[in-house]
Amino acid sequence: MSARDPGPALLRTPRAWAADALILGSVAAAFYLLLTLAPRELHRSIPSITIDLRPSALPEYALLSLLRMIAAYIISLAFTLGVGYAAAHNAAAGRLIVPVLDVLQSIPVLSFLPTVLLAMIALFPGQTLGLELGSILLIFTGMVWNMAFSFYHSLLTIPEELSEATRAFRLSPLRRLASLELPASMIGLVWNSMMSWAGGWFFLMATEEFSLGKQSFTLPGLGSYLAEAANKGNFTAIWWGLGTLVALIVALDQLVWRPLIAWSEKFKVELSEGQDVPRSWALNVLRDSALLPACGRALRTISERVQEGRHAPTFPHPPALRPARAALGRALGWPAGLAAVALVLWGALSLLRLIAALPAGQWLVIGAGTGATLLRIIAALSVSLLWTIPAGVAIGLHPRLARVAQPLAQIAASVPATAVFPILLLLLIHVGGGLTIASILLILLGTQWYVLFNAIAGAIALPRDLLEATEVMKVRGWARWRTLILPGIFPHLVTGGITAQGGAFNASIVSEYVTFENKTLQTIGLGALISAAAADANYPLLAAATASLAAIVVIWNRLFWRRAARLAEERYHLG
């Protein structure tokens, strides 16, 4: 019911726009700072790495890629817990953090790829450390936002009475975190971690092998192995590399994610017992062994030791009780806030000045590039919708088909599109079609799964009684699609569409400009403009193209997806 919460759309729109502007300004400032770090010309100071295409080298490459992922994940988790906790517990922090996360998660991070890597190379000249850090930073930015949102949202939706119970029984903040807040957010954290890893592989592959003009930047890993194999046209190596990647992802899924998901089931807040409980063979093995209970006991002893230093909680936010601290906060807060705003203004203005140096003709190029990229994304999304809706609904409505198709689709979806891209390119360049078709295919590969899985979920969630009602009333064929299936799965399609679009922008950036068989291939598009501008150290163009992309994504989300989401919530919400 909308009357319950007319807030967001009715009252907050102007403030949301203002917040967007402020945040985009901050991003612009950060971007400008990165640009000032980037070298004026690409010096060949990075030691070049030759990738060993023998299969025996693969374990080491796989391990290196995995370590990069783990490093980025640990940073993401720390960020998630810290920022999510602060946003949920401090109203002022929440007002700042939530819109920032919202904008940051919608900006295609890969558009910063050249800038970030250039800045990192400049900071650590002559070493691969800069590349490593840049890669981890980009993976982190691909992983973190949904995790932070999930944790924050879980904290906010903890049932009021549970949270009152922790206060009525005077639990210390630490015990409260351990016995209420972490358990209550566990399911969301586990699912989002899994999604973040899937997204992380995509970024990892894109950052391990990265070229600007004649200069290529290579980190040893599975991504660079696949790129090198495709570049050399070595199909044996391609199959070995893909096999290793899929094996690694499936192993992680079976040994880490499935057990974690099955384990996290016990943290469901609802008290009713579900029908379809996730299961994991690995977890069953672990549970049968004596090792786990022993670890549990050890952890318990440690946590009790830690808990001993607790203090009695008081009223939440008692303004009268801490005037001194509040005054101190104000005294520190104002200059700090002013300084931050000044920095943001300075950065944003500097960036604007840089962009203003761009000849007017270049804006036409940017406009054409934007149009081309948008068309490519729309084409890919349309193709995704066309095949995934019928397929997803068929799978969702037929449990027997689902048992066969879903695991297959999950394995197919787990292969990051960026890993397949060099191979795709190799085929298309020799068969015909070139980069224009290849880039659409890449976007499609990266996005269709989101739509497919959401269509399946939507079809599964269609209420039994509505399906039976249409059968009894003999509503069939297109009428059934129109009255039940399409409206019923619409909210899921919107969710899938938003996620897919995010992936699509990222994919478009890495697919429009590639170095292949020592030739640079590019097609018209914003991604190509960004990479080419970085290669030529044409920073005004780089800044203008990146800023245009970020602005377009934010505007498009606000104008289109927000409305679709609201429509889904209010008119097509089932149950």
Partner: protein
Amino acid sequence: MAISSPPTVLVDAKDLTIAYARPDGGSIAVLYRVNLQVRAGEILAVLGPSGCGKSSLLRVLAGLLRPTEGTVLYRGEPLKGPNPGVAMVFQTFALFPWLTVLDNVELGLLAQGVAQDRARAKALEMIDLIGLDGFESAFPKELSGGMRQRVGFARALAVEPDILLMDEPFSALDPLTAENLRTDLLELWLKRRFPTRAIVVVTHSIEEAVFMADRIIVLATTPGRIVDEVRPELPHWRDRRSTQFQQVVERVYELLTGDRARRLAHLKQLIPRLPNATVSMLIGLVELIHDRGNEADLAQVGAELHFDVEDLLPAVEAADLLGFATAHAGDLKLTELGAALAAATVQEKKDIFRARLLETVGQTREIVAQLNQTEDHRMPASGILDELERHFSNEEARRQLEILIGWGRYAEIYAFDELTDDFYLEPGGVPAEAGSG
């Protein structure tokens, strides 16, 4: 319970006001100047319709909510945070789903720094006392509602509170289970099987209050304040069918529905607080009274329908507000208009309802007038909500808006678009005279 000397005052709440800030700088009180003492040896019931602030009052006593004005003394000391002498039982149990029964019961003890082995012993003792033995290692989701609330009781009693606070502890249970648990708790209390010295129970069931309590505090709404105090003064166990029991129930009903002049004076204000009743409930009640010869005893109707005060009172108030019935001394009597409404056809019912709604509820006239001033007969609900928020808390304003939407839609005075949050006039469906009202 109390022997000869005057009973110790455990909690002394003085001049409690709970108010929420309005956007324009003013404030809305949900509880106004309430004075309350919890004394050793008593079961105190706090009774009132929804929106009277009874749950807020309990949370102030628990130290979970800071009153806007007034103080709460526990054993003479003002509270600075959660009340150290209380434990609480929640309506929805508030059990941690990922902890076993035993872990849930231990939690409060561990939080107070009780050593693990002593906490375990105490928790097992409580589990035994409350009739949960055998379920120690079960998770809450494996238990029925009644057993879950038993865990809630065991957890609360384990910390040996001076005062046990209960927020509608039986209202989420089916009547039989609720009765079973209520009886068990009362038996433990009467036999002094746990050292707690007073129980405060918030409820909207009159029978429950009269059955258990030594004192019943009756609250009224807008803003919540104490109307009166009733002492059943019947020995336990009380027989619900006895005349004395029924007399106390009648007395409480009178307090809740009486005081009519004051309530109507309030309702006649420009912006009355609409009772949270659907049109179906209102018409259903009017038809029911009509079937009984246009007059009925509310306590009896409530008992027959298994309705609590929460369910029945809003419909009674709505019937009263719109002039379909008058409540007096626990009886509800239909007016001529009410009798006509009950006998009318579906379409006539709408006509009668529309006329009364436009006449008695100024907000509906205001909405129609504003709609008539716009070119497309359409306007966002936010303006009306802003207006309501100047008179009610934000939550109450939203509820008032929903009631206005529901009533007005039924009466076909205006329509509402969920998607855009707009009020609008149906083309051709507008009562011409409405605009000038």
